[in-house]
């Protein structure tokens, strides 16, 4: 990942006292040394407990209901307590980046849908912006508004899944269905504007494919009103529930130092208390026009950086997204939605990195162009992949049921981890 020279310094991260963390936590084979709860050595344990016990190794996944896809976790467990965890990934690797080097610029767009399939609009946006940076073209303002509306609606949709599946991980089934009910509305909105429900390929290089159909913006406004009501219900049903709080508060605490050292971004980083959001830190598109807050973990129910905080950041972000969408609806004007581009797109030679705020964190696209119809090199910095790396650090010391809670709170999409 080579940030281009225009990238402003990450103000938030730079001012924080960063310790060189994670140095002594692994042995030479990258296996974890248990940190949070140090189990007794075997002979010690035999003396204390008068029985001979042994850590057990368990495969959690790739077919497990709570690993959110085909993640395989090799857990070392001492009874109910996890003493070590190694994630194994790559079960749905599809060579997306390599494909990017063999198809034309615009043809790569459908492939971006498929890594973080819960936030395809954001993926489209990230890739398009990277290519646009090389092209150096102006995007029409209406296109930018529509892009922002779609990206924020998609953020709500993605966080709704995070909310619903988190309830599911912790044994509450009903929030899942409620969240899908609202998500359904978002999907039907997307279906109306671009014709697809999951893999949109809607935001393209130079703007968006179609203008919004008549009545669409009004329906978005109606959705925003309805969603705010439903959002309160979610909190009553799950966020404040005593059992839910006791399952998530003080569980899987990720310290600020760890969060920075492991390169966490998105709600996982903000849950640890750092207000770092690319929409504010490096405002792209129209984000510096809008007023919105960056929710951070407050430790309201437990410690800063626990599962509840990460969950809560997502819940608050949904409301902030609604705020942004409302401001977009107020500001949108008639106009063209696509910049003038030649049919056979040739991108000037050079390289560019653009990171945008995906629902899961910083989604970066690094493209190198040789001035041809295809990219020479295309590389994706996936937020889920980086966020996943904290698991070996965060899981030891928690219980088996907490492992599920921690994985759920990090909210990975395996399609994007493996790409």
């Amino acid at each position: 990942m080579v940030p281009s020279s225009e990238t402003p310094a990450r103000g938030a991260a730079a001012t924080l006292p960063v310790k060189p963390a994670g140095q002594g936590d692994y042995d030479e084979d990258f296996n974890l040394k248990p940190k949070f709860a140090t189990p007794l050595a075997r002979n010690e344990r035999e003396m204390v407990m008068d029985v001979r016990t042994q850590d057990m190794e368990m495969n959690m996944g790739p077919q497990h209901p709570s690993t959110h896809g085909v993640l395989r976790l090799l857990l070392r467990v001492d009874g109910e307590i996890v003493t070590g965890a190694v994630p194994y990934i790559g079960y749905i690797h599809r060579c997306a980046e390599k494909i990017g080097e063999s198809v034309e610029w615009i043809q790569y767009l459908p492939y971006t849908d498929r890594y973080d399939y819960l936030a395809a609009m954001n993926n489209n946006l990230g890739y398009s912006m990277a290519v646009e940076k090389l092209l150096g073209i102006e995007i029409p303002e209406r296109a930018m508004y529509i892009r922002t509306i779609c990206a924020e609606l998609n953020r709500i949709g993605s966080h709704l899944i995070a909310f619903g599946t988190y309830g599911l991980d912790l044994g509450a089934f009903t929030p899942f269905f409620y969240s899908f009910r609202e998500r359904e509305w978002i999907l039907s909105l997307f279906e109306k504007i671009c014709g697809a429900r999951l893999t949109y390929s809607y935001i393209r290089i130079g703007g968006v494919f179609n203008d919004s159909p008549p009545g669409w913006l009004e329906e978005v406004a109606a959705f925003c009103n309805d969603f705010e009501e439903k959002w309160k219900e979610y909190n009553d049903l799950l966020s404040e529930n005593s059992i839910f709080v006791s399952r998530t508060a003080n569980v899987g605490v990720i310290s600020v130092e760890d969060a920075l050292a492991f390169g966490l971004t998105g709600p996982c980083l903000r849950g640890s208390g750092i207000a770092y959001d690319l929409r504010k830190a490096q405002p792209y598109e129209l984000y510096n026009k809008f007023e919105f807050d960056i929710p951070v973990g407050s430790g309201r129910k437990g410690t800063v950086g626990d599962c509840w905080d990460r969950y809560d950041v997502r819940m608050q972000e949904m409301r902030e997204s609604v705020k942004i969408v409302r401001q977009c609806l107020a500001g949108i004007q008639e106009g063209p939605t696509l910049a003038k581009l030649s049919a056979a797109l040739r991108v000037p030679a050079g390289h560019a990195y653009v990171g945008i705020e995906n629902p899961r964190g910083e989604l970066g696209h690094f493209v190198i162009s040789g001035g041809d119809k295809k990219a020479i090199r295309l590389r994706v910095r996936g937020p889920s992949f980086c966020n996943l790396s904290i698991l070996p650090k965060a899981l030891p010391g928690t219980m088996l049921a907490d492992a599920v809670a921690v994985i759920g709170s990090i909210d990975i999409v395996l399609g994007e981890v493996d790409r």
Partner: protein, 444 residues
């Protein structure tokens, strides 16, 4: 109606002899005299069919009783499964099974047929005998609990003086089956489920037993029939929760402990699907799996029925005493089953609302909260009976004392309803002066 007469005669005879001896003798007499038996006896050279020995009589009686219970438990369990799926559907803004039969009522039957026809897999590494025995043991405990259940006046299998203790004791048998299943499956997830079940059931027997002591204290008996009969005044509305103000919290406590005993959410740790995939029955398939399934819902019904018998008046219902004879028994049976199903409905409602507790929190819940509460309630109910009511039988107490408890119960329900009107948790929480420290957010 035939089965009702049978049930009635079971209950009538139960006190004198082993369950169902007399009507079994009648049945066998009838069978001896029917023409087929005569023809067979003549063909074999006898004057008439021989009188069978006692053990055959006992075996036939027991067989018929088990058949009745099995049929009843299967029907109730299938209905509960249907109820659960429909209620869950409606709660979650969807419809639930609606294709097989009217309102999908036959869905459970279809699923049962499917399970019967599926391959019965025994894993190669499994301990075969234990693996096969476990579902049978689990099922046996569900059947056994029915023995002490007073379903209607005079219609029960036995009339045990220690009915409460018997039901708790037999319900623990299922735990052994679950541990056997978890151990013999040779699967780590199943083993986890079994260990969790063992710990959970052992812990929750304490608050369960304590909560059951409250009705025993109030009614002055451990006999389920007698406790139910003590709730029959006021023409059948004098339920135990209206007799003593302590019985309402005791009922809530019983309900929570019963959820844990029957492995229902939020205590469904032994089979928690998001952690242990399916827990102790992860390796079971086909008919053996359906045994676990039936047992879960059968145990749910029995735990509900026990709560109904102890706290909610059993078969008593206002105005039921105008009926007589067979109609009375039939209506009582119906009232009892409907009340139990209502409690099952409550269990379902809770399950589809709450998340699951963690394994240590389940223990904390039992030992830190429920057990002290249970102890307090036992002492408080005894105190009320002795100090406030002066040890008088309920019907001899002054009117204000009889009316105080229903008034209190109604007031508490109205108060909670009023508080729940539009309340969101944020503003309603912590009436007991929470000592929360200031949030320490790191903002940059």
């Amino acid at each position: 109606m035939i089965s009702l007469h049978v049930m009635e005669s079971i209950g009538g005879q139960a006190r004198r002899a082993a369950p169902g001896t007399n009507w079994t003798i009648d049945l066998i007499e009838w069978a001896r005299k029917c023409s087929l038996s005569k023809w067979l006896a003549n063909a074999a050279g006898y004057e008439e069919a021989p009188v069978p020995p006692d053990w055959i009589v006992a075996a036939v009686g027991a067989g018929i009783a088990v058949g009745l219970v099995l049929a009843f438990i299967s029907v109730v369990a299938m209905f509960s499964i249907w109820l659960e799926r429909r209620v869950a559907g409606r709660i979650q803004s969807r419809i639930g099974p609606n294709r097989v039969g009217p309102f999908g009522l036959l869905q459970s039957l279809a699923d049962g047929v499917k399970l019967l026809l599926k391959e019965d897999i025994i894993p190669s590494g499994a301990d075969r005998s234990l693996f096969i025995l476990a579902p049978a043991l689990v099922m046996a405990s569900a059947l056994g609990m029915f023995a002490a259940l007073p379903m209607a006046a005079g219609a029960g299998f036995t009339d045990l003086n220690l009915g409460i203790i018997f039901i708790i004791a037999v319900s623990s048998l299922a735990t052994i089956g679950v541990i056997m299943a978890g151990w013999s499956s040779n699967n780590k997830w199943a083993l986890y489920g079994a260990m969790r079940e063992a710990a959970q059931v052992v812990s929750y027997e304490i608050p369960l037993g304590l909560s059951l002591l409250v009705p025993a204290v109030v009614a002055g008996s451990m006999n389920l029939r007698e406790i139910t009969e003590s709730q029959s005044s006021w023409s059948g509305a004098c339920w135990l929760i209206f007799q003593n103000p302590i019985c309402l919290p005791a009922f809530v406590l019983y309900f929570v402990a019963a959820l844990a005993e029957t492995k229902r959410a939020p205590f469904d740790l032994p089979e928690s699907e998001s952690e242990l995939v399916a827990g102790f029955h992860v390796e079971y398939s086909g008919i053996r799996f359906s045994f676990f399934f039936l047992e879960e819902y059968g145990a749910m019904f029995i735990m509900s029925a026990l709560g109904v018998a102890l706290f909610l008046g059993g078969w008593n219902f206002p105005g039921i005493d105008v009926l007589h004879g067979g109609w009375l028994v039939a209506t009582q049976l119906l009232v009892f089953v409907i009340k139990s199903l209502c409690m099952i409905l409550l269990m379902i409602w809770v399950r589809w609302t709450l998340p699951r507790l963690r394994v240590d929190q389940v223990m904390v819940m039992s030992y830190k909260y429920l057990t002290p509460i249970g102890l307090g309630l036992v002492v408080a109910s005894a105190g009320w009976e002795v100090l406030v009511a002066g040890g008088l039988p309920f019907n001899d107490r002054p009117f204000w004392m009889q009316a105080a408890t229903p008034a209190l119960v109604v007031f508490v329900c109205l108060l909670l309803g009023w508080m729940l009107r539009k309340q969101s948790v944020d503003s309603a929480a912590a009436p007991f002066a929470a000592r929360s420290s200031a949030p320490g957010a790191i903002q940059t």
